[in-house]
């Protein structure tokens, strides 16, 4: 027997308007989500990573300066440095050049970008600049265990959206529900900003506003300063307020992104005839963490990738007097590290000029270079 719903006729005056209301509300939200996510996905400000409706934070600005340099400059550098904040704050290209005679630019960004982000920066750089002689990947040994967040809206995904390859001219659709959520939110902001721009005499320019939480610099003025120091950002004072004590993780394992990511960097470098050098940034010598998994991985990597060189000793330990915090260096530490890196790179490049690049497998790491 077929099922026949028995809805009393007197209920219809309540049911029909209610169903209509729910339908209108649902359709309105769905339509808004579709329109705003399309707008959010496809509207690109300059720089594309920034939202056109709010001032960027200092971290956002620092995150994209290397990509903007890679995209918009054409100058030649002998060496470029890729990496996280420890790279940006611990390698001074001026000191490096003094020691090595090689021109250099620091493309160090933020650890939150991950290797995918460093690779994009390198690709942008190679597209717009004469090829350098060497690329140095400089990261702290303490963050190898950090997995890159999977959620859309997190820095690496947003960075890939902003600077990664995309179909020019065609309308892009958000990939999944997570990105619909992110782009719908962005789209609402963009929509309101565009509406305000239409009404305002001087549209809001996120590059001209003071950075969120920093009343000293705008995006543009900070960019000028960073460019003047060739991507290097000197940390203020001798030490950070909380000192140089390390969090002392028991051990640092190597997160899944590193092995394929570094191999991909090595392939790009190899395809362009550039030397890829891995130099871990020094860490404070009071640290008690076990870095053996990192060392093992570096050894395996060096064995498996013939076009990649790991500078030894793989982990450098500096005294607290040279450290700003446990993983960033202060001015003295920067000078020391930049000069020693300059010497290392010159040595490697001269050896490379004579023979195929050799591996520097100089035995287990020691603390002999501790000053």
């Amino acid at each position: 027997m077929a099922f026949r719903p028995r809805v009393s006729l007197q209920a219809w005056p309540r049911l029909a308007p209610t169903a209509a209301i729910l339908a209108v509300a649902f359709l309105t939200v769905a339509m808004l989500a579709a329109v705003t996510s399309l707008l959010g996905e496809n509207y690109r400000a300059d720089p594309p990573f920034l939202d056109p409706f709010r001032a960027p934070t200092r971290d956002e600005a620092m995150l994209i300066y290397p990509a903007e340099y890679a995209l918009k400059s054409t100058e030649y550098n002998d060496v470029v440095f890729l990496g996280d904040s420890t790279c940006r704050c611990s390698i001074d290209p001026a000191e490096f050049q003094q020691a090595s005679g090689l021109s250099a630019y620091n493309l160090g960004s933020m650890g939150s970008l991950g290797l995918d982000g460093y690779r994009l920066i390198l690709q942008l750089y190679l597209r717009n600049h004469p090829k350098p002689r060497a690329v140095v990947l400089a990261v702290t040994p303490d963050d190898f265990d950090v997995e890159i967040p999977a959620a859309f809206g997190a820095a690496p995904h947003r960075f890939r959206w902003a600077y990664g390859p995309h179909r020019g001219g065609s309308l892009r659709l958000p990939e999944d529900l997570e990105s619909v959520e992110f782009f719908a939110r962005r789209g609402v902001g963009v929509g309101l900003a565009l509406w305000e721009h239409r009404l305002a005499e001087r549209p809001f320019d996120p590059r001209g506003a003071f950075l969120d939480g920093v009343n000293k610099y705008t995006y543009l003025s900070l960019e000028r300063r960073v460019r003047q120091s060739r991507g290097f950002w000197a940390l203020p004072g001798k030490h950070f307020a909380i000192g140089t004590d390390a969090p002392n993780k028991p051990t640092v394992t190597v997160a899944t992104q590193w092995d394929p990511g570094v191999k991909e960097l090595a392939q790009i470098a190899d395809a362009n005839g550039i030397a890829l050098i891995v130099r871990l940034v020094p860490i404070v010598n009071t640290v008690k963490t076990d870095y053996e998994p990192v060392r093992t991985w570096l050894n395996t990597l060096a064995r498996n990738c013939p076009h990649l060189t790991v500078i030894r000793p793989d982990i450098l330990f500096y005294s607290p007097a040279l450290c700003w915090d446990y993983q960033h260096l202060n001015a003295e530490g920067v000078a020391e590290f930049s000069r020693s890196l300059g010497n290392d790179v010159v040595r490697l490049l001269s050896r490379e000029a004579k023979s195929p690049l050799e591996k520097e497998l100089a035995g287990p790491a020691d603390r002999s270079r501790v000053r």
Binding site: A11, P13, A16, P17, A20, I21, V24, A25, T28, G189
Partner: protein
Amino acid sequence: MAVCSLGFLFFCGAAVIVFHLAPGKRLRQVILACTSALFLAPLVPNLRSWIWFAAVLVGTYLALMVVRARGRGAVVAAAATLVLLFYLYLKRYRLLAEIIPFPLAMDMRLHPVELVGLSYMIFKFIHMLVDQWQGQLAPFNLWTYLNYQLSFFTITAGPIQRYNDFLRYWEEMDLQPSDTRESLLLWIRILTGMIKVGVLGTYAETVFHSANRTHVVPTLSEALLCLYAYPVYLYFNFSGYTDIVLGAGGLLGFRLPENFNRPWLARNVLDFWDRWHISLTHWIRDYVFMASYKLAATKFPGGARYWSYALLFFALFVAGVWHGTTDGFIMFGVLNGLGAAVTRAYGDVLRAVLGRQRLHVYLHSPTVRLVAIVLTLHYVCISQLFFATDVDRALAILGAAGSELLYLPSTLSSYSWQGPAIAIAIGTLLLAALWKSDVAGSIIERFVLWIGQRNGWLSAVLCLQCMFVAGMFFVDWAFQQEPPPVLYMAF
């Protein structure tokens, strides 16, 4: 669940559909009970709160049973006192915590209990207790009692529905024929309420907070903004909530008591309270003022008039203090009590001096009415300033406004007149509208009636409103804004 949210809109819609698809009375009652439970569940934060919740419900129900069995005044008084003490304990009155040598505040901080709608549950309980004692209460059992106390459209912030009314609709369960027009109007009311809370109230609150910069002596314009913006916020927030729950209740066949009746047109404080949070005022009138006045008039018949002033003060003071636990709310209560007592005394004096006929002429004079409305409006705004901030800040704002007004003529000469000219023009228009409020009101009412009689127009308005409200919630979501809270849910 926040009442002013897209979630509630869908929740309410789903509840209405499921409720009206159910064929019989019993099933509809079960559905309504489940709806209330679903609404309540996210509002009770922890197990401890659930236990207290159950204890309150079971305890108050047992008290009602005892009163039904024994029917003695002493039992009623004991139960009411016990419940009030429990309420004061949970309310965390600062003054009480300082006086009583018991670590009330500390205990509550360590073991927080959130009983949503506790005030309103107690109002309903005392009403049932007294009415049962007086033999006026309709029959009740645990099932009807729980549903009365926990019905989702009254639990969080009222309105205080009387049990007999509830039971009537509970037994009918909207099985009587209804028309589409009524449903459309109820949905329009829900959406209007959401716009009031989400847009108008939120905007007024933003204006108030931007003008009320603490640790800064306010300018005249800031002081005036503080004075007017907060009452506007309070009105839109609470009347918006009331519209939402009245609409939701109506769609499920429950006609709830109105809580607002153009309060800004009140001509004195008593009139104001008869137009603002009406269900609370009527509850206080019935269970605080009338009960105490009867007692006083019986014991001291000679001084009944003076007792009425004192008890009016007391009743409105209680209404004020009920709102909050700080000194600002005590001041709010004092001002309201004072306003009510003076109003009653002034009325008595006028009656004695003018006589019946001249009093009638006086009361119907448009000038007197306008002056009374403007004075009451400002008195209420001043009293609500204490509601909005603490006593010191409120006095600072009023002091700044007073001193600025004193020097206004000299400062006006060096003023840029564009802004004030607009303000004066708007003020004049508002005064004119107030002067002819009957005419303006009737024009608006006729227009609403005209639209209300045409289902096509109603549907179009409803559709636009629904799109606007959905868009409003979408933008809130995009900017990661929490749904605007209903202030009275905190009481």
